[in-house]
C-alpha cells in the first residue's frame, strides 16, 4: 500500500475516533447527571 493510501486510512480512523469520543462524552454526561 502506498503512503498516500495509508495516510487516507488514518484520516478515517481519526474521524471515527472523534465520533466515538462525542458519543462517549454524551454518555458520560447523561450517566453522571
Amino acid at each position: 500500500m502506498n503512503k498516500e493510501r495509508k495516510i487516507q486510512r488514518v484520516y478515517w480512523w481519526q474521524i471515527g475516533f472523534l465520533v466515538f469520543q462525542i458519543f462517549a462524552f454524551y454518555f458520560l454526561t447523561v450517566y453522571f447527571s
Binding site: 484520516y11 481519526q14 474521524i15 462524552f25
Partner: protein, 563 residues
C-alpha cells in the same frame, strides 16, 4: 517545599533543558537554528506540536476550570482532529514543496508583499500578547513558592527561556518537548493516583464522579447552543480556531516544518489529533477529582495564598478571619451532606440522594458566596490585587496535599512546559520578523552568519518585549487559558481567511485580499467588543469562523468590483 523538593526540582528542570542544548550543539546555520534542518521523525513532530500548545497555562488553568466549571471546557478541543486532517491534506504538502521557513512566505508567492507583511504582523501581535501570558503563568508558581515579587519572577523566567532559545535553537526545543511530554504524562498520572488515594475509603471513583455530576461538574457534552462551551461551538468554532492556530501560527507551522518529509509531518499531526482530546479530558478531570476531594475536606476560603497573606497583614485581617470561620463551618456542613449523599448513592436510595444533592449544592453556593466576599476584601485592600483564584486551585492543592519530593518534580515539569512553549513562540516571532518583515522590506544580509546573528538578536528583542507584556498583564487575573484563546480568536479567523483564499480561490487577487483582511480585522474587533464583551451574546469561539467568512466575503465582493 522541603529540601528534597528543591533538589528534585533543580535536577529535573536542568536535566531537561541541558539535554536539549546538548542535542543541538552542532547546528550553526539558519536552517538548523529555525527548522532543525528539517530532519525530525514524526513522533518528535507530534510531541513538539503538543508541547507547544501545552504551556503551564494548560496544567494550572485546565484543572482550575474543571474544579470551578466542570468538564465543559473539553469541548473546546473537539474541532482539533478535523483541523489536523485538513492541514495534512492542504497545508503540509504546499509548505514542504515550497521549502518555506514561515507560513507567510507562501502568501508572497501567491499574492504580494503587502499581504505577507500584514498577516505576519497580525501573527506577531497575537503571538506576542499570548506569549506574555504564557510567561506569567509559571511566574505565578515560582513567585508563590519563593515569596518573590511577581515582576522580578517574570523577568527571571523570561531570561531563562531567552537564554535557552538563543543557545539551543529549534532542535533543542524539539528534543526538550519530547522529554517534557514524557515527564508530564507520567507526573500527571502519578498526581491523579495520589489525589484518588486521598479520597474517603468508602467512596468509589464512579460514585465520586456521580457526586460531582450532581453538582453539575460532569457536563462533558452540551447540545445547548447558548452554553459557553457546547458541541456546535466546539466542532465548528474550535475547528476554525485550531486550523488557523496550527496552519497559520508560525509557532506551530515551525514545528511541523521540522518534519523529515511530508509524511513524517502528516503523521505527527495525526498523532496530535488522536491524543489531544483524551489528554485534555484527563487534565480537566484531575480538577474534578480535586473538587471531589474538597467535598470531604476543609476547603480554603480562597486558593491564592499570596493574596490571603496580604489580607491577614492588613486592616481587613479581622474581616477575613470572620469569613474564614464561616467558610470552615460551611465546609463541615458540606462534608456531612457529601457523606450522606455518598451513603444514599451506595444504598441506591434515589429520593434521599436527590434531597442531599440539593443540600450539597446549597452549601457549595454558600462557599462560592464566601469566596466572592474574600475577593471583594482583596480588592478593597489593594485595588491592584488579584481577586481570581481559579489558576491557584490545583497549585495550592499540590503544595499542601501531595507528598514531598513529588511536589518538586511536578513543579519542575510545569515550569518546563512553559519554557518549551515559550521557546517555540520566541523562535517563531524571530523567524517571522526576519523573513516576513525585514527581508521583504529590502533588507539584505551579507552572509548567512550575519543573518543568523540578526535572528538571535531578534529573539532577544522579542524576549524582552514579551517580558514587558507579562508584567503589564500581571493584574488581569482572569482564567488565563481563556484569555489566551480570546486573543487568538481576534486574529486567527482573518489570517485563516487569507490562507483559504490563497489555497482555494485562485481568481481573487492581492489587492482584494489585502483590503478584505484589513476591513475584516477591524470588523472582528468591533463584533467582539459589542457582542462578546458588552452584550455577552456571542461566545468568543464564533469569532474564528466569522473572521474567515468576513475576509472571504469582502475579498469576493472587492474582486467583482475590480472586474
Amino acid at each position: 517545599m522541603k529540601l528534597i523538593d528543591w533538589i528534585l526540582l533543580v535536577l529535573t528542570f536542568s536535566s531537561i533543558l541541558l539535554y536539549g542544548i546538548y542535542k543541538n550543539r552542532k547546528d550553526r546555520n539558519i536552517d538548523g537554528y529555525l527548522l532543525g534542518n528539517r530532519s525530525m521523525p514524526w513522533y518528535h513532530v507530534g510531541f513538539s506540536l503538543m508541547a507547544t500548545q501545552a504551556s503551564a497555562i494548560t496544567f494550572l488553568s485546565a484543572p482550575g476550570e474543571g474544579f470551578a466549571n466542570g468538564m465543559a471546557f473539553v469541548q473546546f478541543y473537539l474541532g482539533l482532529p478535523l483541523a489536523m486532517i485538513v492541514l495534512s491534506i492542504t497545508f503540509v504538502p504546499i509548505f514542504h514543496r515550497l521549502k518555506v521557513y514561515t507560513a507567510y512566505e507562501y502568501l508572497q508567492t501567491r499574492f504580494d508583499n503587502r499581504v505577507r507583511i500584514f498577516t505576519a504582523v497580525l501573527f506577531l501581535l497575537s503571538r506576542g500578547l499570548a506569549t506574555g501570558l504564557a510567561i506569567y503563568a509559571p511566574a505565578i508558581i515560582v513567585s508563590t513558592l519563593f515569596h518573590w515579587d511577581l515582576t522580578y519572577t517574570n523577568i527571571l523566567l523570561g531570561g531563562i527561556v531567552l537564554l535557552f532559545t538563543t543557545i539551543g535553537g529549534t532542535k533543542a526545543i524539539s528534543h526538550t518537548h519530547f522529554q517534557q511530554m514524557m515527564f508530564m504524562t507520567v507526573a500527571l498520572f502519578i498526581a491523579s493516583f495520589f489525589i484518588l488515594s486521598l479520597l474517603p475509603d468508602d467512596l468509589s471513583i464512579i460514585r465520586g464522579l456521580k457526586m460531582a455530576g450532581k453538582a453539575g461538574k460532569m457536563n462533558v457534552l452540551s447540545l445547548n447552543p447558548e452554553a459557553k462551551y457546547n458541541l456546535w461551538s466546539g466542532l465548528i468554532g474550535g475547528f476554525f480556531l485550531q486550523l488557523s492556530y496550527f496552519g497559520t501560527d508560525q509557532s506551530q507551522v515551525g514545528r511541523f516544518l521540522t518534519g523529515r518529509s511530508v509524511s513524517e509531518s502528516r503523521t505527527g499531526l495525526m498523532m496530535n489529533g488522536f491524543v489531544k482530546i483524551p489528554m485534555q479530558f484527563f487534565i480537566i478531570l484531575i480538577g474534578v477529582f480535586v473538587f471531589i476531594f474538597y467535598l470531604f475536606n476543609e476547603t480554603p476560603a480562597f486558593h491564592n495564598p499570596v493574596e490571603v497573606k496580604k489580607l491577614t497583614e492588613s486592616a481587613y485581617a479581622q474581616e477575613y478571619y470572620d469569613l474564614e470561620a464561616r467558610n470552615n463551618e460551611n465546609s463541615l456542613l458540606k462534608k456531612q451532606a457529601a457523606q450522606g449523599l455518598n451513603s444514599a448513592l451506595a444504598a441506591g436510595n434515589t429520593q434521599e440522594a436527590d434531597r442531599l444533592a440539593g443540600e450539597l449544592n446549597h452549601y457549595l453556593e454558600r462557599e462560592t458566596g464566601i469566596r466572592a466576599e474574600v475577593a471583594g476584601l482583596i480588592k478593597k485592600n489593594d485595588p491592584g490585587g488579584n481577586d481570581k483564584d481559579i489558576n491557584f486551585v490545583f497549585l495550592s492543592f499540590v503544595m499542601n496535599k501531595l507528598p514531598h519530593g513529588f511536589i518538586g518534580i511536578l513543579i519542575a515539569v510545569i515550569i518546563c512546559a512553559s519554557v518549551g512553549a515559550i521557546a517555540s513562540a520566541l523562535s517563531a516571532l524571530a523567524a517571522t520578523s526576519i523573513t516576513d518583515v525585514m527581508k521583504v522590506t529590502n533588507l539584505k544580509f551579507k552572509s548567512e552568519e550575519k543573518e543568523l546573528k540578526m535572528t538571535k538578536a531578534l529573539t532577544v528583542l522579542w524576549g524582552v518585549l514579551i517580558i514587558l507584556v507579562a508584567i503589564a498583564v500581571q493584574r488581569t487575573g482572569s482564567s488565563m487559558i481563556e484569555l489566551v484563546n480570546i486573543i487568538g480568536s481576534w486574529f486567527y479567523g482573518v489570517i485563516l481567511g487569507v490562507f483559504i483564499i490563497a489555497f482555494y480561490f485562485r481568481r481573487i487577487g492581492p489587492a482584494a485580499v489585502f483590503y478584505a483582511a484589513v476591513a475584516g480585522q477591524l470588523l472582528v474587533i468591533l463584533i467582539w467588543y459589542f457582542f462578546t464583551e458588552k452584550q455577552n451574546i456571542l461566545p468568543f469561539l464564533w469569532l474564528n469562523p466569522i473572521g474567515v467568512i468576513l475576509v472571504i466575503g469582502i475579498a469576493f465582493l472587492l474582486q467583482k468590483q475590480v472586474k
